[in-house]
């Protein structure tokens, strides 16, 4: 359609911000019965450039588009990793994809973790269930650049031993120096030798956290309040607590309105927020 009668720029110049770019799946692995890991490479060969904590809109034509966090460290640029939990229409369909298949992505989207304020400080990551995915990118990054950070502690809580993800990750971390990994499950079984109880019980099991520690929280909605009650006890200021939030999203670019928390857009202003920023936003938790 030509626009002779008006001064709008021609259609060719209009980029459609909803058009995803092709990427190739180079490897997949089931990590639990419902979570699948995908190693992905941009089809045009460009490098992966993102911040830990940022996310992608992952789409499959005919099924839809969903937000998924980067799961690998940005230091690794040739390809990147995402982990998808099968919960519904799009995620189930994505699970059927295999090595060699194409996948369509928009991103990186969102703000990511505040690396500046984390650097040279002690860091605690509290991850519940799938919440580990978006923080995994950060964890890998910290371990990659270990000497740029202080003490590093990771809490991971799963519903039950069989819901644990990334066993390999944790086993590897446990063997590493300079990372303090504590795990718990809500409900144990005979195979489980570790801690049983909600994730906040882990606070009593370590002395590596203090009032200057930077805390990152990501997990199911109910988890936040309880974790913050613990950090409060330690006297950690709310400006040093970061939460990684999840909301329904349809665009990822601040238009569709689904992810709003009061006046904030999780996709644009987040998904990582300083807790102090959200305190007076009643809808955050």
């Amino acid at each position: 359609m030509s626009c002779e009668n008006c001064n709008c720029s021609s259609q060719a110049n209009h980029e459609n911000i909803f058009m995803p770019q092709e990427a190739k799946i180079i490897k997949t692995k089931m990590s639990t019965a419902s979570e699948k890991r995908f190693w992905v490479k941009w089809a045009d060969g460009s490098q992966a450039k993102f911040q830990p904590g940022q996310f992608l809109e992952v789409s499959l034509f005919g099924y839809g588009e969903i937000p998924i966090g980067y799961a690998s460290s940005p230091t690794f640029k040739d390809n990147f990793e995402i982990v998808i939990r099968a919960v519904g229409r799009v995620s189930n369909a994505l699970h059927k994809l295999q090595k060699g298949d194409s996948i369509f992505l928009r991103g990186p989207l969102g703000n990511g973790f505040p690396m500046k304020s984390l650097k040279n400080n002690d860091v605690l990551v509290v991850a519940g269930g799938i919440g580990y995915c978006p923080t995994r990118s950060l964890v890998n990054y910290i371990l990659d650049k270990r000497d740029e950070f202080g003490e590093f502690t990771l809490f991971y809580g799963a519903r039950s031993p069989k819901d644990r993800m990334f066993n390999n990750d944790f086993e590897r971390f446990k063997k590493m120096d300079g990372v303090n990994v504590l795990e718990t499950v809500d409900k144990g079984d005979e195979s489980w030798k570790g801690n049983v109880g909600v994730i906040t019980t882990l606070f009593h099991k370590t002395d590596k956290i203090n009032k200057n520690t930077r805390v990152i929280i990501c997990g199911p909605p109910i988890m936040y309040k309880f974790v913050i009650a613990e950090t409060d006890k330690l006297g950690i200021p709310h400006s040093n607590v970061y939460v990684d939030l999840e909301r329904r999203m349809k665009c990822g670019i601040g238009k569709c309105g689904h992810c709003q928390i009061n006046d904030k857009y999780v996709c644009m202003d987040g998904p990582v927020f300083k807790y102090s920023e959200l305190e007076d936003r009643e809808e955050a938790f």
């Binding site: 359609m1 909803f18 329904r248 349809k250 601040g254 238009k255």
Partner: protein, 341 residues
């Protein structure tokens, strides 16, 4: 800026000529109401309308808009604007268009909207009849209507045509316009000022006062109480000129190979608007109660966007009030109540 005048019969010819050479859209009658629709002859154009059912946003951001088509593994953009002239927009809708322009442009430019918008010449017109639920006279008075290309005001004997952009000037070729004289310009100003006093509904406070008080009444009982009668039908969202939330769905065509990804108007009053899946069939709804959804809309209109927009995200058209079957959506009622609390 130039101001022109055209007499009644000249105006009829003008519209007739526009119909012949351009895609002309304006207010037309639909049963006992009005809608923005195609103008095929002068008689279709109803500048005496009070308000239209849907706001003009539908012309840039259709209720259902294809955003991409897919052919197996290939996607193709659907941006395909059609130049049009939108004639007869009331000033409150002009304000609203200016707001959605900003919202679709900020951060990520959404050309699915903007391409249609840029292809449209907007000619406003004065309000000849005031809708009984409108309150444009008392809301966001500090916000100037802008972004339109021209503005028509009906005065005795004809129309004063204020030309704001070249897009409007270009239309002069279709009519027998003269320069407006001072008296005519004054008359037009008077008409447009007077209409502000004609709304039967009225907010009792300034936008700034409202902004503060409403924001602080998040925990008020008024929300759940008013929303007891809410149907979660989202009608108040759909008809609002400043609501622009959407849902996106994919569908295959019958061949089951090709298909389309389309967005359609969504509304925060709908029950599943903020639902997310947690896996194993469980669902979390971040605004679970009718009251919390109802509150979100009023908050958004009265406070959340004020800083960004320079005033409230409500232009006082009264559409939501008249469309709400249980008559609870009216911002005037609930805001005035809060202000008295």
């Amino acid at each position: 800026m130039e101001t022109k005048f055209i007499n009644e019969s000249g105006f009829q010819d003008f519209v007739g000529k526009l119909v012949e050479s351009r895609n002309l859209v304006g207010p037309v009658a639909k049963r006992n109401k009005f809608v923005f629709g195609e103008i095929n002859k002068y008689e279709d154009l109803r500048l005496d309308y009070d308000v239209t059912l849907l706001p003009p946003k539908k012309l840039f951001f259709p209720p259902k808009q294809d955003i991409l088509k897919f052919y197996g593994q290939k996607g193709e953009s659907c941006i395909d604007p059609d130049p049009q002239i939108l004639l007869g927009v009331h000033f409150y809708d002009i304000k609203a268009i200016d707001m959605t322009d900003l919202l679709f442009r900020e951060n990520n430019e959404d050309y699915n909207y903007l391409a249609n918008r840029e292809c449209t010449t907007i000619i406003g017109s004065n309000i000849q009849n005031v809708h009984d639920r409108a309150f444009f006279g008392s809301v966001g008075t500090e916000v100037e209507p802008k972004g339109h290309d021209g503005f028509l005001t009906k005065i005795e004997g004809g129309y004063v045509f204020e030309i704001i952009t070249a897009k409007a000037k270009e239309l002069l070729q279709f009519g027998d316009f003269q320069d407006a004289n001072e008296n005519q310009i004054k008359q037009a100003e008077k008409v447009n000022a007077e209409v502000l006093t004609k709304c039967s509904e009225k907010l009792n406070n300034t936008s700034a006062e409202i902004n503060k008080k409403v924001r602080n009444s998040f925990d008020s009982k008024i929300w759940e109480k008013t929303a007891e009668d809410c149907f979660s039908c989202g009608s108040c969202n759909i008809v609002c000129p400043t609501c622009y939330c959407f849902d996106v769905q994919d569908d295959w065509y019958l061949d089951q190979e090709t298909g389309v990804r389309a967005r359609s108007w969504d509304g925060c009053l709908k029950e599943d608007f903020s639902e997310v899946s947690l896996g194993q069939g469980s669902i979390e709804n971040f605004r679970e109660t009718r009251g919390s959804r109802y509150r979100h809309r009023i908050m958004r209109k009265a406070t959340y966007l004020n800083e960004k927009l320079g005033g409230p995200a409500c232009v006082g058209c009264g559409r939501c009030s008249s469309v709400c079957t249980s008559d609870i959506a009216d911002p005037v009622n609930v805001i005035n109540q809060i202000m008295e609390e």
